[in-house]
Each structure stands twice: as structure tokens, then as C-alpha cells.
């Protein structure tokens, strides 16, 4: 089997698993998850083979693995789709394969496989737990299996298919197909517990919000196709003539070049998918889904897809760039990214839901990557995408493990408290040692703990690029966000794991099963080691080149220069990371049960603003949702439908009635009916006349016949014999 065939086959197993589970296997939970995890394993294996083959190829960027088939006949040519593995997609494939496999495995434990069915469990609601009687006839509440267990694995299988398709595509169309499949799956998975009103609202919110981005992205794709006649990466992004043409022709819109306009349109797709400001609102609400879904959406797949796209279209964003001056499109990208990084980081400080903190930190970290693309730090963005996928998957799965442990405690006490609220936790390091350790690693990687964690190296590279290329504002804002990131990460770790348990439930939390902890350990290994592949050359005094930079940089036509070593950004990232962590640990060193957030006093009204997420939900509710409802209820339904359309219809009906009535009165009744009645009446009258001779007496008839015959005989005789 050639490597190209193998690339074609990578997305297939999860898709087959999806159909097989939906059609045949859904009655058996064990069978379903075996198929799904097996499929993920096959795809993982294929991805690893492809990745390790790819990194051995010299100049992979110039000679990627490519295979195309003609797909859609277009006049006298074909629209070709195909697969392509270049350095960028190779590293993406690597982290996608790992995180997807870990998430599949984790889901088995998270959905309580092997536990009894709960008596009150209903499809569409999270399991409530089951009562079990042991040998000493004590009744215990234990976790119960998810009622829609098999369906979950079918959905994440389809989700994985979408992501793999997106990564291996060699053109924007199949990328968009994978993109939309993921959009559908995120809708299905966020609303997996559709019995909850909040989950239903969140699924619709996520779908609608990303739809806004997707429409613009599709416009960008169509524009690109109409300008170049192709959507293939090689033919557009790595073709200097095409890029030059696109960069030099004006689009006639706000003075942008065609490349700039297309770049911005495609970037809006990223804004939606990667939850950048102002389309970030859906992502925190997406936490309504089961935790593996949060990891799936926020780490491995969907949000990464947005950043992957913006990295992929970097040549178009930067087309026309001269002497390092960023283009308009890049400025837009850099602004959105930088703003989002700071904006989301500040919100995360005031959130109490363990998953929501992570959701905002994801938005913030994605903002980093987008900002990096915007300042031209192509490799740094990819690097951060790579490391972030691991440590954020780790953090989400870790938070899932924490929530799972808390749910155990809730089942034990039987009280109904929010298992996601960090103020109900505390002291969990003793109850969940493995989760604590791995969560700590993930959190430190997110905070950028110097030297040992992967997050430090990738974040440092972005900061170094921003500093080295003179984007001082971007540098300062990102450094500030890094400080806040470290602070809220430590806040989260302190509130969750340190101190004393603040509730009885936290006291009775228990460690999760091996299917959940094993993925945590594996991801923790990556959360540390993923940074080593991109160590800057100055660490080893130039003895070892920056492998990641060399490899991924080869994707571009012009190999980007590594920035000069500068001590300022390195020191900055160390200081902000350690400072933030230290500050967080100090502020939250000892939060007692029932105590309010120490920041609440320190920040005052600002804290309320942050806690309410700058009131963006309320703003959008006011600006878009309520007008939409008003449009539907008042304008369309009452005014347009009932008044205008129904009015026109009623008017037509009235006019038709008038015409019909007059036709009836002046034509139908007198003329048509009159003639018919006349014929009928005449026939009747003639009948009455002739009735008189119908006596019923046979002899009279015969006399009549005789008389007539004599008469006619005489007439006949006269005309035929006498007249001639």
C-alpha cells in the first residue's frame, strides 16, 4: 500500500464505525464502544505511519504527499479533490490522532460503562445513578450508565471523521465539508442531553453562531474559486503568480485587494469556528455537552480546525506583504486575535464553573494563535496549536474526572449541588491524586511554567516573534494575557485541589477508573514533551536546530526566518508565568467554605462585569435574538403574513367572488339555464300533448297505424306515380 492510499483511508474507520453503530450495533454497548475505539485506533495507526513517514522526507513542503481524483465534471474539465500531507497537516494529524484516541478511550469510563442502569434514567438526561444492594443488604447509590451510550460513540465517530477529512484535504471544498460535518456533530453533541433546556439552547446557539462565520467563509471560498478557478492549496497558496495576481487586483470593496478580501472572509469562518471575539459566545455554553465532547470540541478538533484554516490560508493573508509590513487582512487577524486573547482571559478570572474557566482559556489561547498568524508568526501559531491541543485536552479530561469524582460524592450524600462549581470543591488532591497530578501538569503547561512545560515554549515563541518583529502592542497585550492566564489557572488549581474540602461531597469524591486516568497520563506526557520538538536553537547554543521550525516552516514558499534571540521576551514570559501562578496561589491560598471570591472585594464592580462576561450574551440577546423574535412574531407573522399576504389573498378572493356572482346572475342563470330549461319544458309540453293518444288500447293504435299507412300510401302514390 502506498502512503497516498493510506492517507485516503485515514478518515474512513470512524465513518464506518458511525454507520455500523447507528445501523446494527447500537443495542450492545460493549460492541458499540469496541467498534468506535477500534476505529479510532485504526485511524491513529494510519496517522502515525503517515506522520513518521512524512518527517523522514526531505523538503516535504515542496514535495508533499499528494493524491487526487477527478470528482465533479465541470464543462470540459474536472473538479479534483484529493488528499495532501505537507508539514502543517502532518503535525495536525499527529495531535488530532492522539487526542481523538485518548478522548474515545476516556469516554468509555466517563459514561460509566459497566455500571448498572439507573431506575430514573431517561434518554436525553445525564444518568442519575442507580441503587445497588450489596451482600450485607446495604443500599448504595452508584453511578449509572449513560442511557444513550452507543449513540454517543456513533456521534464522536462521525466527528472524528469530519476532523480527519479536514486535515487530509488538499482543497478548501473538502475542508469545508469536514468543517460542516463537525458543525453538525458539535450541534448533536452539545445537545446530547437534550432533555435539559440549557443544553437545547446551547446547541442552537452554537450552531447559529458558527453558521454566521460559515456563511462568510463559503462566500470567501466561492470568491476564491471564481477568481482562480481552483480551490487546491498547491495551486493557490504555493503559486506565486496567482498570489501576486490576487494581491495586486483591487476587489473594489473598502480598498482591499482580492487576496485581502478573500482572506478576511475565510478568516470570519475561523472567527466562528475558533470562537474568536465577536463570535465567541457559543463556546462557553457548549460546556452543556458531556466532558469528552468539550475536550473534543475545545482541544482536538473543532476549534483547532479554525486555527488550522487561518494558518493554511496564511499565504493569502500575507499576499502583497513587503518588508515585513503586515497587510490589512493580517492586521485584522492580529487585532481580533490579540483582543480575544486578553478579553477571554479576563472573563475566565471570574468564572466559577470549572469547565467554563477552561472554555474561556481556550478562547484566549486560540486568540494567541490567531494573533500569531496575524503578525506573521506562522510557525509559532502552529506550534502553539500543537502543544495547546495536548494540554487543553488534558485539562478538559481532567476536569471531567474531577466532575466525575464530585458526582460520586453527590450520589453519596444525595444532595443536589452543582458538581462543576469550583467553590464546592477544594482539597481534592488527596481524593484524586492522579487527576491532580495530571491536571497540575496541564495547568502549568497552560500557564506557561518555564522550561519544563510545552506551553512555555510555544507561548514564548509567539511572544518572541511579536517582540522581534516590532509588534509592541501585540507583545504587551499578549504578555498581559499570559499573566492573567497563569493567574486564573492557579486560581482554578487552588480552588479545586488545594485547601480543605468545602463541601461534604468534595470529601467523598473518588478517583476515576483507569479508562479515564490512562488518557490523562498519556496526555500529560505530551503536555510536557510536546514542547521539546520546538526548542529554540539558542538553548543548545545552535548545536540542535529548532526541528519544529525547520519542518513546519518548509510548508511555506519562503522559509520564514527564526527570530533573533532576545532576552526580553524570554524573561517576560518567565516573569508573567511565575508571577501569575504565584499571585493566584497567594490570593486563593485559603478559601473557606461559604466564603466569596477574594477578587470580588478587590475588583468591585469590575468583577461583576467579568462574571457576566461583559454582558455579551445580554447584548446579543438585545441586538439579535430579540429583534429576530420581533421580526418573526410581529413583522413576519402579524404584519407581513396576516396583513399583507392574507390581505392580498382576501382581496383576490373578494374580486373573484364578485366576478363569479355577476357571471351567475347575468349569464349563467338567464342564458345557459334558460336554454336548458326551455328545452326541457318544451319536451315536457310536447309530451303532454302527445300523451292524449296513448290510450293503451291496442285496436286504437292499429287503426291509427292503418290510417297513417293509407295516408302515406296515397301521398307516395301521388308523388311517385301521378306527378311524374
Amino acid at each position: 500500500m502506498t502512503i497516498e492510499t493510506l492517507i485516503w483511508l485515514i478518515p474512513l474507520p470512524p465513518l464506518l464505525a458511525f454507520f455500523f453503530i447507528i445501523l446494527f450495533a447500537h443495542r450492545s454497548n460493549r460492541f458499540s464502544h469496541s467498534i468506535a475505539v477500534g476505529a479510532a485506533l485504526l485511524s491513529w495507526l494510519g496517522s502515525m505511519i503517515v506522520f513518521f513517514t512524512a518527517i523522514q522526507v526531505e523538503h516535504l513542503g515542496e514535495h508533499p504527499f499528494v493524491s487526487q481524483i477527478p470528482w465533479l465534471p465541470l464543462g470540459d474539465t474536472w473538479f479534483e479533490i484529493g488528499v495532501q500531507i505537507d508539514p502543517l497537516s502532518a503535525v495536525t494529524l499527529f495531535f488530532v490522532a492522539w487526542t481523538v484516541l485518548m478522548i474515545f478511550l476516556y469516554s468509555v469510563g466517563y459514561h460509566n460503562f459497566g455500571q448498572p442502569k439507573g431506575e430514573h434514567d431517561r434518554p436525553g438526561l445525564p444518568p442519575h445513578g442507580a441503587a445497588v444492594t450489596d451482600v450485607h443488604s446495604h443500599t448504595h447509590q452508584v453511578p449509572s450508565i449513560e442511557p444513550m451510550y452507543a449513540r454517543f460513540f456513533a456521534f464522536i465517530g462521525l466527528f472524528a471523521f469530519g476532523m480527519y477529512t479536514l486535515v487530509i484535504s488538499d482543497n478548501l471544498l473538502t475542508l469545508f465539508v469536514g468543517w460542516e460535518i463537525m458543525g453538525l456533530c458539535s450541534y448533536l453533541l452539545i445537545g446530547f442531553w437534550y432533555g435539559k433546556t440549557s443544553a437545547r439552547a446551547a446547541m442552537i446557539k452554537a450552531f447559529m453562531t458558527t453558521r454566521v462565520g460559515d456563511v462568510f467563509m463559503l462566500l470567501g471560498i466561492v470568491y476564491l474559486y471564481s477568481e482562480t478557478g481552483t480551490l487546491n492549496y498547491r495551486e493557490i497558496f504555493y503559486n506565486p503568480e496567482t498570489l501576486q495576481h490576487l494581491a495586486e487586483t483591487s476587489s473594489g470593496f473598502l480598498g482591499l485587494s482580492i487576496a485581502g478580501l478573500i482572506g478576511i472572509l475565510l478568516f470570519i469562518g475561523t472567527v466562528g469556528k475558533s470562537a474568536q471575539w465577536p463570535l465567541h459566545v457559543w463556546l462557553p455554553d457548549a460546556m452543556e455537552g458531556p466532558t469528552p465532547v468539550s475536550a473534543m470540541i475545545h482541544a482536538a478538533t473543532m476549534v483547532s480546525a479554525g486555527v488550522y484554516l487561518v494558518i493554511r490560508i496564511f499565504p493569502i493573508l500575507s499576499a502583497g506583504m513587503e518588508h515585513g509590513e503586515p497587510t490589512t487582512a493580517m492586521t485584522v487577524v492580529a487585532f481580533i486575535g490579540t483582543f480575544t486573547a486578553l478579553f477571554a482571559a479576563t472573563i475566565a478570572v471570574a468564572q466559577n464553573d470549572i469547565k467554563r474557566v477552561l472554555a474561556y482559556s481556550t478562547i484566549s489561547q486560540l486568540g494567541y494563535m490567531v494573533a500569531a498568524v496575524g503578525i506573521g508568526a506562522y510557525v509559532a501559531a502552529t506550534f502553539h496549536l500543537f502543544t495547546h491541543a495536548f494540554f487543553k485536552a488534558l485539562l478538559f479530561l481532567g476536569s471531567g474526572s474531577v466532575i466525575h469524582g464530585m458526582e460520586h460524592g453527590i450520589l453519596h450524600t444525595g444532595k443536589h449541588i452543582d458538581p462543576n462549581d469550583m467553590y464546592n470543591m477544594g482539597g481534592l488532591r488527596k481524593k484524586l491524586p492522579l487527576t491532580f497530578l495530571t491536571f497540575l501538569i496541564g495547568g502549568f503547561a497552560l500557564a506557561g511554567f518555564p522550561i519544563v512545560t510545552s506551553g512555555f515554549w510555544s507561548k514564548d515563541e509567539i511572544l518572541a516573534d511579536a517582540f522581534g518583529h516590532g509588534h509592541l502592542v501585540v507583545f504587551l497585550v499578549l504578555a498581559l494575557s499570559a499573566l492573567i492566564t497563569a493567574f486564573y489557572t492557579m486560581r482554578q488549581i487552588s480552588l479545586t485541589f488545594f485547601g480543605a474540602p468545602r463541601t461534604k461531597e468534595a470529601e467523598h469524591a473518588v478517583e476515576s477508573k483507569w479508562t479515564m486516568t490512562m488518557p490523562l497520563v498519556i496526555l500529560a506526557v505530551f503536555a510536557i514533551s510536546a514542547g521539546w520538538i520546538g526548542l529554540p536553537a539558542w538553548i543548545t547554543a545552535g548545536a540542535l536546530p529548532n526541528w519544529f521550525h525547520e519542518f513546519v516552516g518548509g510548508t511555506l514558499l519562503e522559509h520564514p526566518e527564526a527570530v533573533e534571540v532576545n532576552i526580553i521576551p524570554v524573561l517576560t514570559s518567565m516573569v508573567v508565568a511565575l508571577g501569575g501562578l504565584g499571585l493566584g496561589a497567594w490570593v486563593y491560598r485559603n478559601v473557606q467554605a461559604g466564603e466569596s471570591d477574594p477578587l470580588e472585594k478587590a475588583l468591585g464592580p469590575l468583577h461583576k462585569l467579568l462574571k457576566n462576561k461583559y454582558y455579551f450574551d445580554e447584548l446579543y440577546n438585545f441586538l439579535f435574538v430579540r429583534p429576530a423574535y420581533w421580526m418573526a412574531a410581529v413583522f413576519t407573522s402579524v404584519w407581513m403574513d396576516r396583513k399583507v399576504i392574507d390581505g392580498i389573498l382576501h382581496w383576490f378572493a373578494y374580486i373573484t367572488g364578485v366576478i363569479g356572482n355577476s357571471l351567475r346572475d347575468y349569464f349563467d342563470k338567464p342564458v345557459v339555464n334558460g336554454f336548458g330549461d326551455f328545452v326541457g319544458e318544451s319536451t315536457k309540453r310536447i309530451g303532454v300533448w302527445f300523451r292524449a293518444i296513448q290510450t293503451g288500447r291496442i285496436q286504437q293504435y292499429m287503426i291509427l297505424a292503418l290510417i297513417s299507412m293509407v295516408f302515406f300510401s296515397v301521398v307516395f302514390y301521388y308523388f311517385f306515380f301521378l306527378v311524374p
Binding site: R691, Q694, T695, G696, R697, I698, Q699, M702, L706
Partner: protein, 102 residues
């Protein structure tokens, strides 16, 4: 040989007697008998014309035989009808059998 006109006159007289009987008699049986007379007058005509005009051709006799058969069938049907009518209405007077009038 008797001239043809004599025979024709005879048959016309016979036909006239039959016709008178049909038109004047009240009794249905008598009407039927009148019809038989008219049919036989026709037969006399047929045979006479055959004998005097085309004796070499047998068609005239055949025609007469067919009329006999028809007359016999007619009598059979007619009498059966009258019996049936008599059973229902106790009369065979043609004036009283007037169900078909309006």
C-alpha cells in the same frame, strides 16, 4: 287456368276480412285469428305470384313455408300470453288490457 287477378282479389278480400277482425273484435283470441287470416292472405299472394310468374324458381314456396312457421310460432306465443293475462286479470278483452297507457 284461373287468371291471377281472381286469386289476388280473393287474397285481398281475405286480408280485408282479417284486418276488419283485428280492428273490430274485442276478444284477443279473435284478434289473433284475424292476424292469422291476414298472414294466410299473404301466403296466397306469395304462392300465386310464384305459380304465375316464376314457376321454375322455388323461392316463392319457401317464402310461404317460412310464413307458416312464423305464424305457428306467433300463435303459440300469443296464446301463451293471453292465458297468462287471463290468469292475472280474468279477461282477454283487448280494451281492458291497457296497462301501457299513460
Amino acid at each position: 287456368m284461373i287468371p291471377l287477378s281472381w286469386i289476388l282479389t280473393f287474397s285481398a278480400a281475405l286480408f280485408g276480412i282479417g284486418l276488419f277482425g283485428v280492428l273490430s273484435r274485442k276478444n284477443a283470441i279473435a284478434i289473433l285469428m284475424g292476424i292469422e287470416l291476414m298472414l294466410n292472405a299473404v301466403n296466397v299472394n306469395l304462392v300465386a305470384f310464384w305459380r304465375y310468374r316464376t314457376p321454375e324458381n322455388i323461392a316463392g314456396q319457401v317464402f310461404a313455408v317460412i310464413v307458416f312457421a312464423v305464424a305457428a310460432a306467433e300463435v303459440a306465443v300469443g296464446l301463451a300470453l293471453f292465458i297468462s293475462v287471463y290468469r292475472l286479470r280474468n279477461t282477454v278483452s283487448a280494451d281492458e288490457i291497457d296497462l301501457l297507457k299513460w
